[in-house]
């Protein structure tokens, strides 16, 4: 142990959206805040998507899977028993650094799954309770979009900026949807379309998922951290937290972290907030076991790490005769559809999925051989034919289908894998259930019809993209301490000054990208801490 920093009012573990929102809000309220981030600051100039080497680096340095990136900041994830790979990024700004920038809200029914569909559980809060926070974070992040989507309740506010262009791919897709009479809407995205704060307007480079070289995609290192730091918050990078510590009264009193030199430090604090994502947070709680909490900190319910939801992702791609310039961005969600989002049990499953349109992307991204196609289909003269058919002339519907919580899908500690600091790695067990499999099949059938209606000459189904983009549910919120880890304000039932603000607290996953909801919850819960600060118990 080599050092102990000054005691802070709040220590936050993780600098992604929830950590950044909490830090900014708490610092602006006058609280002293220290954030520990195991990664580093990432400068926009490092993103190479607009350079010839961009695709090579996308396959490694900027890959979504930490097991492939193998960066100093990353910890390995044992996914040998998981049907999908984890997606995350460790650095200031968190996984938004590599996210697609899709910015949908959950729908009202997503908060009442048990009531409406008889499965899983209801959330302890409603859509309406989150609306004011959804609106505020849209302003804070600089969201572009178009109000009026009939898949959502009427909204009183417009988006801060007009929507992104949908390009030739989008126009082809919506003509197909129009023929079928199916819902579509223009994407709401965390992408600036005008100069906005510290964000530049989008230039349609199309590499949102490997970092935006234009500085147009909203990430917390740009949108939040400068303000938080201006109000006194500190970010310590290269700091890997290995334990949350308790005092004799059972209150969290700080954390132990390891710096890049391997030296241990203690950061004392009155409040501890975990913002380390749906894998990192349960890992840390399980690592922080003690005599008082032999099964992991804040785990009297036994639910820490359980109910992991990762949003298995399927897709259907189509090729077209016309030149769609399909390498152009935005990549993630220039058009989406909620046509089959709400439950209809006559389909043979409950719950639903959002579709988001993605362009066919650059030459390597659509290379069949590199995707594992048989030799004669991926290489040789066929490679050239594939490129002619797919490059610039393809697009797809990505299908984000809802995972229902299953206690057997979980994060535990690996018995035989450690990170570079010899801390046990998280181990995933994740299986896509039958309901989700049926849902995926149904949606792929419909997406195929949609692409054919748009004029696709060929379509290819991708039942399993391997990517588990969203890490949710592993420290769920609820009113009953026996069936949840935190209350509806993100506060641990067991440790009254320990909070969780990341996606771990989701009760169900919905079928949309979760970052807007994670962010809205973080803002709501941070405000609650400020409002209740005089009543808040904290370690002296």
């Amino acid at each position: 142990m080599t050092g102990e920093g000054d005691r802070a009012d709040v220590v936050i573990i993780g600098s992604g959206p929830s950590g950044a929102i909490a830090a900014r809000h708490l610092a602006e309220a006058g609280m002293s805040v220290v954030c520990l981030e195991q990664g580093e600051w990432v400068d926009t100039a490092q993103f190479a998507g607009d350079k010839p080497e961009g695709e090579l680096l996308a396959a490694q340095k900027w890959h979504y899977n930490p097991n492939r990136r193998l960066a100093m900041a990353d910890y390995p994830v044992d996914d040998s028993e998981s049907e999908v790979e984890p997606a995350m990024f460790n650095g200031v700004g968190g996984s938004m650094t590599l996210f697609s920038a899709a910015w949908p809200r959950l729908t009202p029914s997503d908060f009442r799954v048990r009531t409406l569909d008889g499965v899983a559980d209801d959330w302890p809060i409603s859509y309406q309770e989150l609306v004011p926070y959804y609106e505020r974070i849209e302003r804070d992040f600089g969201i572009s979009g178009l109000a009026g989507d009939p898949a959502y309740p009427h909204r009183d506010t417009s988006f801060p900026m007009p929507q992104v262009p949908i390009g030739k791919t989008g126009m082809a897709a919506v003509r197909g949807m129009d023929k079928l009479g199916w819902h579509w809407w223009v994407g709401s995205t965390a992408i600036a379309t005008r100069p906005y704060g510290r964000l530049n307007p989008c230039a349609r480079i199309g590499t949102c998922n490997t970092g935006c070289p234009e500085g147009a995609k909203a990430t917390p290192d740009v949108t939040h951290w400068p303000d938080a730091i201006a109000h006194g918050a500190r970010v310590i990078t290269g700091a890997r937290v290995r334990q949350i510590t308790l005092n004799a009264q059972g209150l969290a009193d700080g954390v132990v972290y390891i710096d890049r030199n391997g030296d241990e430090h203690v950061q004392k604090a009155g409040i501890v907030i975990c913002c380390a994502n749906g894998i990192g947070t349960p890992r840390l709680l399980l690592l922080s076991d003690s005599g008082r909490f032999p099964n992991g900190l804040a785990n009297s319910s036994g639910l820490v790490g359980r109910n992991l939801m990762m949003h298995g992702l399927s897709a259907v791609m189509g090729t077209f005769d016309e030149d769609l310039e399909s390498w152009r961005g935005p990549y993630g969600q220039h058009v989406y559809s909620m046509q089959f989002y709400e439950s209809d049990p006559s389909r043979g499953f409950v719950r639903g999925a959002k579709w988001q349109l993605f362009p066919g992307s650059s030459p390597l991204a659509s290379h069949a051989g590199l995707a594992g196609a048989p030799f004669d289909y991926g290489w040789g003269a066929q490679m050239h034919r594939n490129t002619r058919q797919w490059f610039g002339r393809s697009m797809g519907w990505a299908i984000i289908y809802e995972d229902l919580p299953d206690p057997e899908n979980r994060v535990t500690l690996s018995a035989d894998m450690t990170d570079s600091d010899d801390i046990p790695a998280p181990k995933l067990r994740f299986k896509v259930d039958d309901n989700a499999r049926r849902m995926s099949e149904f949606h792929m059938d419909r997406a195929t019809e949609a692409l054919e209606a748009a004029g696709a000459q060929t379509t290819v189904r991708i039942p399993d993209t391997q990517m588990g983009a969203h890490l949710l549910g592993t420290a769920r919120m609820g009113n009953d301490p026996a069936t949840s880890v935190v209350d509806k304000w993100g506060r641990s039932h067991d440790v009254p000054n320990l909070f969780i603000f990341d996606g771990s607290v989701f009760v169900t996953s919905g079928g949309v990208n979760p970052t807007p909801t994670i962010s809205a919850l973080a803002l709501r819960n941070a405000e609650r801490i400020v409002a209740m600060r005089r009543e808040q118990r904290s370690a002296a």
């Binding site: 009202p108 898949a151 309740p153 579509w184 223009v186 307007p201 040789g380």
Partner: protein, 153 residues
Amino acid sequence: MSAGLDASQQAVLDALADILAPEAEGMPSASQVGIATRLLDQVLNFRPDLREPLMYVLRTARDREPKAYLLELERDDPATFLALGLIVAGGYYMSPDVRERIGYPGQDRQYFDADAVPPYESAGLLDHVRNRGPIWRDPDDTAVLAEARSRQT
């Protein structure tokens, strides 16, 4: 010498790469665009992690018939095969000549006027969606709740 390869190693890589990316369909072969020289330098500069599998391939492919070797590698060591594939395809599509032939300017910038009327609005396509009305379920609506209860009983 390029990327530390001698002439014989370059010849081995050229032979393998030309099976993966041959001269065909109006496109040049990998060797013709410099896969074992200038492009390899670029690839390994950005992906030094690919050097080790490349050197393994160059050691084990010497004196082998290229296509038979590649098929065997794909079957027995898919990770190394994919690493070689990434070197070849990654380098190939970095070639300015190849990019020009497939009509790829790279991920270039295209600025736009965010306030311009989008083509789907001027075509009235979004009005069709609006006119079909709301499609979300209101969990506080008594009719929605009654339907949900009836489904579950």
